[in-house]
């Protein structure tokens, strides 16, 4: 398969188990998604490498359960690949579509499973060397005090790295509402510092 968008825009730099992904532009991501819709596995692989860290991080932070997060991210990818023809690039990236599926999966998991979530913070901290422990502890404490809606919008904004328009698409609200909710969440978070 001839991939014309090389050199790779998705730069993977492994630091232990942590992966840092260089930001992929909307056009690049849409191009890869279009190619993946035609059966290009290489394009899909690049998308996987670029999106999976965010997706897994989002699932982990949402579900607070490593096993559950792995199940959800796998289910998300399998559903997305199985229904990749449904993806319509209407101003949002492929990752936004993927996060919408993941959010739906997470909600289904919350509805079907009743066991207490395991706080993954300490595991995360043990695996990570950056950023610093105090800062992460502070943010986690703040997020725990926020409402579900506020926490979700910050997760989509800072873990999934979605734009307000994409967040609006994922949450099925208007872009203005997404922007306002995000600002309110940050304002609320500032009170707990």
């Amino acid at each position: 398969m001839n991939v014309t968008f090389t050199p790779l825009h998705v730069l993977s730099l492994y630091e232990g188990s942590q992966l840092q992904i260089q930001h992929m532009t909307t056009e690049e991501e849409l191009l890869l998604a279009t190619r993946a819709q035609t059966g290009d596995k290489e394009a899909l692989g690049l998308l996987w490498d670029a999106i999976t860290p965010k997706l897994y991080g989002y699932c982990m932070n949402t579900l607070r359960d490593k096993t559950l997060a792995e199940d959800v991210y796998q289910q998300t990818w399998l559903k997305a690949i199985a229904n990749i023809q449904l993806f319509k690039p209407r101003g949002v990236r492929f990752s936004a579509w993927l996060f919408a599926i993941a959010r739906n999966e997470c909600r289904q998991q919350w509805r079907t499973r009743t066991h207490e979530p395991i706080d993954a913070l300490h595991d995360d901290l043990a695996q990570s060397t950056t950023p610093r422990y105090e800062e992460r502890l502070l943010i986690e404490n703040i997020l725990n005090k926020l409402s579900e809606t506020e926490r979700e919008i910050l997760q989509l904004r800072y873990i999934a790295d979605l734009s307000f328009r994409e967040i609006a698409s994922v949450l099925n609200i208007s872009t203005i509402s997404a922007r306002v909710r995000a600002h309110r969440a940050i304002a609320q978070a500032r009170k707990f510092i």
Partner: protein, 387 residues
Amino acid sequence: MNDKLHHLLQKWGQGQRRMPENNDSEKIRALNTLHIAEQKVAVQSPVRIPWLALTCTGLAVLIFFIQKAPSPTRTAQVASISEGASLKSVSSGFNSVGFSSGLSAQEPSAMQKISRNFADYFQPTPASDTREFLKTDYRTTMKTRNIETLGNRIQTIVRGYGGRIDSASIQTRTAYISFVVPKKTFDAFKAELKTLVPERFMTESIATQNLLPEKRLIEEKTDMMSGLLAEHKKNRDALEAQHHETATALQRQLYGVVAEMKALRAEVTIDPTRQKQIATRLTTLQSDERRINRNLANENMQYNSKRVMLDAQIKDAEDQLTNLDTRDQVLGNTVETVQGSITIDWISIPKIIGLYMPKDWPSLLFLGFGIMAFLSYRRRRMAIKLP
């Protein structure tokens, strides 16, 4: 603070991103399922056209242009009104300057008189004359749900401000009241009228016109007629004096002739020569007496004829002055009063709502619906379809 929190959240978000432990195996497993997706027939959803938004917008545009388009009936009415107004102004011009001299012998033809008066009336007023004789016309239209109450109340107010009702017609759906109020109470009267209905339910127009040209015309005519009257009186006096002098001279001659005749007839003489002289002289004197009487009769006749003509001229001039004085008083009254009319129309509830809405509210309403429909359509179209 905000930047610091944003920075912390960004670092936190980056810290949350990581690859799962079994990433490679899961990736291979997932990618292997892609060939199944490849064989799936792509479900091509038909392009959905936002019919509701387009319909609403189309209706908005249609209504907008229908409202903006001039009505042929309305245009015709406006044309006829303006034509009538111009005719009225010309006729009023004739009326205001239609003074008759009353001198049939010296009178110009009617058309000449009209054209002369017309030209006089439209003589430009010099800029140095800054006097104002403002005639005020007040017209207002009110809308109400209770015609009779409002009509009666307006009549009471007119009378309360020292005015009079000229005509009033109150029906179930409309009313018309024409009135005159003194100018000094007009402002207070107008302010009270405005308290009767809300501002949006009332339209008023005040037209003022300076009657200085008419005033100047009256003044000029008065001066001219006064001069003419004085001249006629002077001529009459001269005629009377001349007649008196002529008649006196003739009468003096007549008295002399009669006295001589009387003396000759009283003279008693037997002298035939003298008797012949007396007879000859009496014959001459009788002839003179007849001539003088004839002259005196002619003088009286001429005097009477001229006197009648001058009296007629004087009377006509006096009548003209009286007429001018009346016109001056009428003008003064016109300036001191305000003529007005109030039309009261019944208003329906939808029209009341329309008064408080923008002028193009139907098209704006449909445009709003159109925008809402389009936003809804766009939101539905942009919504992510989940598998």
